[in-house]
Amino acid sequence: MAFRDDIRRTRAIVWKDLTTERRSKAGFSAVAALGVTILVLFGLALGPDGKALQNAAAGALWLAILFASVLAFNRSYQVELDGGALEALLLYPGSRWAIFAGKLIANLIFVMAMLVIVVTVGIVLFDVRIPAQWPSIVGIMMLGVVGIVALGTFYAAMSSRSRAREVLLPLLLYPMLIPVLLASMEATKAFLFGDLLSASGAWVQMLSLFDVIFLVATFLAFEYVIEV
C-alpha cells in the first residue's frame, strides 16, 4: 500500500519534471542545440585534419553529452528552488527514494532524447563510419548515460542547495565520472574502429560495475542528502 503510494509519487514527479521541461518552451531543444554547439566547438578546436577528428570523435561526443546534461541536472533542481517548491516537496509524506527515483527517471529520459540528436549530428560532423556492431554501441551509450545521470542527479540535489551551485555540480561530478567517461569512450572507440573486441569487453564490464555502484550508492545516500 505504502509502496504503491510511493510508486505513484515517483510517477507524479517524472510527469511534473517533464511537463515543466516541455512548458519552458525551448528547454529541451535548447539543451540539444547546446550539445551540438559544443560538438562544433570541439571540431574547431581540433582543426580541419580529418584523421585527427575521426580519432577524437568518441571523446568529443561523450564530452558534449556530459556538458549538456549537467545543465539539465541543474535545471531539474532549479525548478524546485524557485518559490520554495523544494520545501513543499520535502513536506510531503512518503519515502525519500520516490523523489530520487522520479528525478532520475525524468533526467534519464531527457538525456537519452538529447543523446539521439547529439550523436546523429556528431556522426555527420566527424564523418564517423557506422560499423556493423552498432547495436553494441547503442548498448554502451545506455550504460554510459545511466552512470552519468545517476551521479549527476544525486550531486545536483546537494549542489543546487548550496551557494555557488553552478560551479559546485560540475566540480564534484566531472572527476567522479572520469572512469565512466573513459570506459564509455574506449568501448565506443573499440567498436568504432572494429578491432580490439576483447579489450572493449573489459571496458564494458567496468562500465557496468560503475553503474551498479553508483546506482546503489546514490539510492542509499539520497535520504541523508535531501534531509535538512
Partner: protein, 237 residues
C-alpha cells in the same frame, strides 16, 4: 551531542608538543639515513632519492583518504559529529599529500621521462583523486549548516574514496610508464630499509597533522558547546 570535556581548552598539552618535535626529528633522521645509505641507482643515479619522499607521500595519502571513508561511514551511521571533524581533517591532510605526490612525481618525471606530465593511468588517476578531494573541500566550504555539511560531505567522501583503489591498481590494469608496485623481494635491501623507515616517519607526520587539525576543530566545537550550556543553562523545564 556530548558535552565538552572540562579540559577541552587551553594550549596543546606538553605531550602533544613533544610528539610533534620527536616526529620532526625522526623524519629528518630517516631522510638523512636513507640518502646516506642508498647507493646511486644504476639508471637514475641520485635522482632515485626522490623516492624517499614520493612513495611515502603516496602511501599516507591513501591512508588519509581511507580514514575519510571510514569516518564518513561512521558519521552516517552514528551521527557523531566528531567523525565528521575527523573526516574533514583527514581530507585536508590527504589532499596536501596528494598534491605533494603529484609535484614530486613531476619533478622526478622531468629528468627521467623528459616531460613534466604524461597521460599515463597512474598519473592521471592521481590527479583525478586530487581533484575529487578539492571538490570535497569546496563542498565543505560552500555549506554552512554543520549538520547538512556533515551529511553531504560524508556522501561525497564515501563515493570519492572509490577512486583510491583505482589509483592503486592503475599500474596493473593499464600499461603505464609508471613503476608498478614492487614488493620487498624485488627491492634490494639498501633501498628497502630507507623506504620503510621513511614510511614510518611520514605516517607519524600525517597522524600528527590530522590530529592537530582535528583538535583545532574540536576546540571550536567545544567553545560552541560551552556557549550552548550558557545559552540553555537558565531555562527551567
Amino acid at each position: 551531542m556530548s558535552p565538552a570535556p572540562a579540559n577541552a581548552f587551553g594550549p596543546p598539552k606538553p605531550l602533544h608538543a613533544a610528539f610533534g618535535w620527536i616526529t620532526l626529528l625522526f623524519f629528518v633522521f630517516t631522510q638523512a639515513y636513507a640518502v646516506a645509505t642508498s647507493p646511486a641507482d644504476a639508471l637514475m643515479g641520485h635522482l632515485q632519492k626522490i623516492m624517499y619522499v614520493h612513495v611515502p607521500s603516496a602511501w599516507v595519502e591513501f591512508a588519509a583518504f581511507g580514514v575519510v571513508l571510514l569516518s564518513s561511514l561512521y558519521f552516517l551511521w552514528k551521527e557523531d559529529e566528531r567523525a565528521d571533524l575527523l573526516a574533514a581533517a583527514s581530507a585536508e591532510v590527504g589532499s596536501v599529500f596528494c598534491g605533494l605526490t603529484l609535484v614530486q612525481g613531476m619533478i622526478w618525471g622531468r629528468p627521467t621521462w623528459g616531460v613534466w606530465w604524461t597521460w599515463d593511468a597512474r598519473l592521471t588517476s592521481t590527479l583525478v583523486l586530487f581533484l575529487i578531494f578539492v571538490g570535497y573541500l569546496a563542498l565543505r566550504s560552500f555549506v554552512e549548516d554543520p549538520h547538512r555539511r556533515g551529511q553531504w560531505s560524508a556522501a561525497v567522501g564515501i563515493i570519492g574514496a572509490i577512486n583510491v583503489p583505482i589509483v592503486w591498481m592503475s599500474v596493473k590494469w593499464w600499461r603505464t610508464m609508471h613503476q608498478i608496485q614492487s614488493n620487498p623481494r624485488s627491492l634490494s635491501p639498501e633501498y628497502l630499509r630507507g623506504l620503510l623507515l621513511n614510511l614510518a616517519a611520514f605516517t607519524l607526520i600525517t597522524a600528527w597533522f590530522i590530529w592537530r587539525r582535528y583538535e583545532a576543530a574540536r576546540y571550536e566545537r567545544a567553545a560552541e558547546h560551552v556557549s550552548q550550556a550558557a545559552a540553555l543553562g537558565g531555562y527551567d523545564g
